[in-house]
Symmetry: C2
């Protein structure tokens, strides 16, 4: 059994090789943006979850590497297209693909990444292949649905907390669930274990996103790595804003809506004002409590797996790190 750090090294090594290949694949205008997007790094969280899911049941974890890469390629495909839709200029501190190569490239190179991800998924054929491809396709459809709900929410002020949780389940959590379950399926895990891992991934993904929401408003700029308050200034419908709108008394609600409707405002002033409203409404505490509940759910699901408890440690440690992270 390998520690997460060692698995991460294998993932990075694999990607260096793939990126080198794409750098020399024609048509270059199609494959160079693919290399560029995947060379930018990121947490490589999803491939790590595939390998950790696999390693719960088997040691020859290198067999799951292509499937792990598949999910990372798919994830980056969604980033390319989301960044066009969100008109985002930067991603991980670098120009986004559509900024650097143009929008048509970001569309088409994104498309080819979607299909390359299936190719990687099919690299290790086994009797589990149909189930893995089905799970992957269902997940991909849901991720698109999640992105659509997220865009739909932009023009609404009546989004409820359950609607928000369903949106982040689709947009973020199902892919983490899919990663863990794919690892388990490839390792030949019993059906019931694979399903529980999927559910654990959902809880992890929801907690991960709520942590993201919290950090964007209450994080420390020095450790978070990007400007604090972006969600507030852009009126993003986060868990925090939605719960604040739900819990606010009429005066607080009016103040919140007033800040949301202002076209001209001082950035810091708006952030401070909205944050004060959140504090008065105990939004931070509520969100932390929600994250704790999801963390507990994920750990209890992992605890029911019929595997040597020692095998669960790397995954439990990763969950803890992701959920409690400060960046």
């Amino acid at each position: 059994m390998k520690e997460a750090a060692l698995l991460q090294d294998s993932i990075e090594e694999a990607f260096r090789e793939y990126i080198e290949t794409w750098n020399h694949t024609a048509p270059h205008n199609l494959y160079r943006p693919v290399s560029y997007a995947l060379a930018a790094g990121g947490k490589r969280l999803r491939p790590l979850l595939v390998l950790l899911g696999y390693q719960l049941f088997r040691d020859d974890v290198e067999k799951a590497l292509p499937a792990a890469a598949a999910i990372e390629i798919f994830h980056n495909f969604t980033l390319l297209h989301d960044d066009i839709m969100d008109k985002a200029d930067l991603r991980r501190g670098e120009p986004t693909v559509h900024q650097k190569f143009g929008e048509n490239s970001a569309i088409l190179s994104g498309d080819v990444m979607a299909f390359l991800s299936y190719r990687f998924l099919l690299k290790t054929l086994s009797e589990h292949t149909p189930k893995v491809v089905q799970l992957f396709s269902d997940t991909a459809v849901e991720v698109c649905e999640g992105q659509q709900y997220d865009m739909d929410f932009e023009t609404r002020t009546d989004v409820s907390a359950p609607e928000y949780m369903e949106m982040i389940r689709l947009k973020t959590a199902v892919l983490l669930g899919c990663s863990l379950q794919t690892g388990a399926l490839l390792a030949g895990a019993p059906e019931v274990s694979a399903t529980r891992l999927y559910e654990a991934g959902i809880s992890l993904g929801l907690a991960f996103q709520l942590r993201d929401d919290l950090l964007d408003t209450f994080g420390e700029e020095a450790t978070f790595g990007k400007k604090i308050g972006g969600d507030i200034t852009s009126n993003k419908k986060t868990f925090l804003l939605i719960r604040a709108l739900e819990k606010a008394n009429p005066a607080q609600r009016a103040s919140l809506l007033d800040w949301m409707n202002r076209e001209n405002f001082d950035r810091e002033e708006k952030i401070t004002a909205v944050r004060s409203l959140y504090e008065a409404l105990e939004i931070k505490e509520e969100t932390e409590a929600q994250i704790d509940r999801l963390h507990t759910t994920a750990l209890s699901l992992l605890a029911t797996l019929a595997v040597d408890p020692a095998r669960r440690i790397p995954l439990e440690t990763l969950c803890e790190g992701l959920i409690k992270r400060r960046f």
Copy 2:
């Protein structure tokens, strides 16, 4: 065994049902453009090829319907994204998806169609599933490559005829090959037959595209259904233009390049001038001869299949119709 017209009815009936479902699937902003795109019709050529490929070997052709739909959904996904990239306003006489629903919708609804196509492909699971999914994914990657080459060609004047043939092989022909081979694989056809059908589809696809090129310049507006000469006015690198640039003497080449470089011109004057150059260079005759050769190749490949010759008739008739079509 069923005639092509009957199979087309089954395809239309299936799509009516799918479209009805998508009309009632949330999030509506995601699925309504999917319905819209697929309700617009079109030739439904690719699903018909799947069914005809299947029917060469088996009669229970309804089993191949979901896979046939998969390829049509994939094809329409490529149209959504190509229309954004080409800034096309109309498709089959109706506003394109990005014109009607906005560019973000065309990107995201296109994406979900790509994954829906895999879901349809997986509806009929069998021992052939991994092979079918692999062929489909390889084909999808190639279609993206073809679209990239097509865009790359826009800014080049030195595209050779073999380069052009390779581009249309990727952009158009491989999906026809994939359609026929998918039908054959699902019917449990011998490997060698399935591969030959793929090759027949390639020849058919190349001939189909060359016919398209010819019709756009030499077709009759009344039967073709769209304005003649669009390729000439937009300097599209078609087989006709590429061969004309290759065959032209220095004076003819200078005249052709001059017309291509003019920013202000009378549409009809340019079409007449370029068409005269094509006529002087016998481009029409050469293209017709090339189409005939490809047609012959397709028919000889079909003739080698170890099936009752009567079973080949619907497919042979379709090929003939497509290759000799005037619209």
